[in-house]
């Protein structure tokens, strides 16, 4: 179980301090949690903070009761946290197989590596030896990023807007990947998303806006709230503008 206690995050812009996250308190013990809310609200910052990429200004992060606030990125990964980037990173020279192998943490056969790729809908033999460089499309990189998280198989998997940068048709297939993952995974999934179909399969939805938690609950509890607020308008506007 992941617990966030009084998490605050401030940055200095010019001479002004800007609060990105304000007193976030959250207990996440469900299998599939979705965080949603308008752009710029602090969702990605929170995800990066859980993965250890950003340190909170104050507050504590606990994983299964253990205080991991001062853990490095590596230590958190070893403690059981995986993180799929919103914008996957490219590597000159490293192949898809190299990254899947590193993710799994042990030497794996080509067959095993291929099975992870198949789970995200990539035809494994076309990809396994490809370099993870600029020759791969955004959608392909995104799937490989998700395959790495599946290969890790940790107790907490975080996905930062898996739909970003993917066309609508590809995303429809990707929804199935998450539906399957929900059935299979042993740990918890934390996903940042604006997509209604993702929100629909979530056990719990957290609405974050302006650095604060506005609402936590089931989709029945949160969705009407989302649709009836100004955040909903801005979320919809974001979708339209995108």
């Amino acid at each position: 179980m992941l617990e966030l206690k009084d998490i605050c995050f401030q940055v200095s812009e010019d001479t002004e301090d800007k609060e990105i996250l304000k007193n976030i308190n959250l207990k996440l013990d469900d299998r599939f949690i979705a965080i949603t809310g308008p752009n710029g609200g602090g969702k990605s910052t929170l995800a990066k903070m859980i993965a250890g990429i950003i340190k909170p200004t104050s507050g504590k992060i606990l994983l299964d009761g253990v205080d991991i606030t001062d853990y490095s990125i590596t230590d958190r990964a070893k403690a059981g946290i995986s993180f799929a980037f919103q914008q996957p990173v490219r590597f000159k020279g490293l192949t898809v197989k190299d990254l899947i192998t590193l993710a799994s943490g042990k030497s794996i056969s080509v067959g095993e590596a291929c099975s992870y790729l198949s789970e995200v809908g990539l035809c494994a033999k076309d990809y396994i030896d490809r370099e993870v460089n600029a020759s791969l499309s955004g959608g392909e990189l995104k799937r490989i990023e998700i395959a790495m998280v599946i290969a890790r198989g940790t107790k907490l998997s975080i996905f930062d807007e898996p739909e970003a940068g993917i066309d609508l048709w590809s995303f429809n297939n990707l929804i199935q990947v998450f539906e399957n993952m929900y059935q299979k995974i042993n740990g918890s999934i934390l996903i940042i998303s604006h997509q209604e179909r993702i929100l629909n399969i979530a056990d719990k939805i957290v609405l974050i806006a302006d650095g604060e938690i506005r609402k936590v609950g089931t989709k029945e509890e949160v969705l009407p709230h989302l649709l009836g607020t100004s955040e909903a308008c801005s979320t919809l506007m974001d979708k339209i503008v995108k």
Partner: protein, 305 residues
């Protein structure tokens, strides 16, 4: 041959025993083994140190290994090796030099390799350079490669220098006739106070000749590298040169690609990119459970693979 020499051979030529096919092993300035085949002859030069490697026309699927090893400190070795590749042949040539220096004097090997590649012949040339030994003496390698490719000929050249060479100046010159092509992949990693300078000059003289010169390098600690690449497009031709380098610690890299288009139908491109390892690459691998040092190692190994 002792264990040091055997280890050097394994590093530069993947030779663990007597190689298959034709070979010539030069150890501490003298011949340590030679084998010729029906199609490949190796002859010692009489006017200067070195050998002639003569490959008959239409020889296919054969290989030649010509490793050089130096394990005596203070030895300065210089050889002239000429390769005559007959028309329509298709062969692999594995060269390379390993130096083990545990003394205080410099050990140096300067090899001048000249290739005469006849019409429609194909050559894959692999050259690995490696140095080891804990002495203060420097390990110096200065290879010069001169390539003449006739009509329709093809050469692919892979050069690798990953470890232990203190100082290197690598010169490569090539001229290409109609329809000939040349592909060069260079990989260099320097560390400590090492220096590496590579100079490529390619003359695309023939119609539809092409060259692709690709260098990937990593400069660690206080090492320095200079990459000079010059392609002359003297006919309807295609030329591309690319230098991609990672700098770490206080490493320095200078890349000077240059192109001369001397014909209206010459098409020439150069690219050069130098920078440190991107922070997001390190972070991504750390989220997979690697430490920062392990992440760096993976990125460098992948880059030079």
């Amino acid at each position: 041959m002792d264990s040091i020499q055997k280890n050097l051979l394994a590093e530069i030529a993947d030779i663990h025993d007597v190689p298959e096919g034709a070979y010539n092993i030069r150890s501490n300035g003298s011949l340590a083994g030679r084998n010729t085949t029906a199609n490949i002859d190796i002859v010692t030069k009489t006017d200067k140190p070195g050998i002639d490697i003569i490959i008959k026309p239409h020889t296919v699927h054969e290989s030649v290994h010509i490793p050089v090893i130096l394990s005596e400190s203070g030895l300065k070795d210089m050889v002239y090796n000429d390769f005559y590749i007959g028309e329509g042949a298709d062969v692999t040539i594995v060269a390379g030099c390993g130096i083990h220096n545990c003394g205080d004097q410099s050990s140096e090997h300067d090899g001048i390799h000249t290739f005469y590649i006849e019409k429609n012949a194909k050559v894959r040339y692999i050259e690995k350079h490696y140095g080891e030994g804990d002495g203060k003496g420097e390990r110096i390698l200065n290879p010069t490669t001169v390539v003449h490719i006739a009509e329709g000929g093809y050469m692919e050249m892979e050069t690798v220098q990953i470890k232990g060479v203190d100082s290197t100046v690598r010169n490569t010159e090539a001229d290409l006739k109609d329809g000939a092509s040349l592909v060069i992949h260079e990989k260099i990693m320097t560390h400590g106070n090492q220096t590496a300078e590579t100079n490529f000059t390619v003359d695309l003289d023939g119609v539809d000749s092409s060259a692709n010169v690709i260098s990937r390098s990593v400069a660690k600690e206080s090492s320095r590298q200079i990459f000079n690449s010059h392609i002359n497009g003297n006919n309807k031709c295609y030329g591309h040169t690319e230098c991609d380098a990672i700098i770490m610690d206080s490493g320095k890299v200078q890349a000077v690609p240059s192109l001369s288009a001397n014909n209206i139908d010459a098409s020439l491109i150069h690219e050069a990119a130098i920078g440190k390892i991107a922070g997001e690459q390190l972070i991504k691998l750390m989220t997979l459970g690697l430490t920062e040092a392990e992440a760096e190692e993976q990125i460098v190994n992948g880059f030079l693979k």
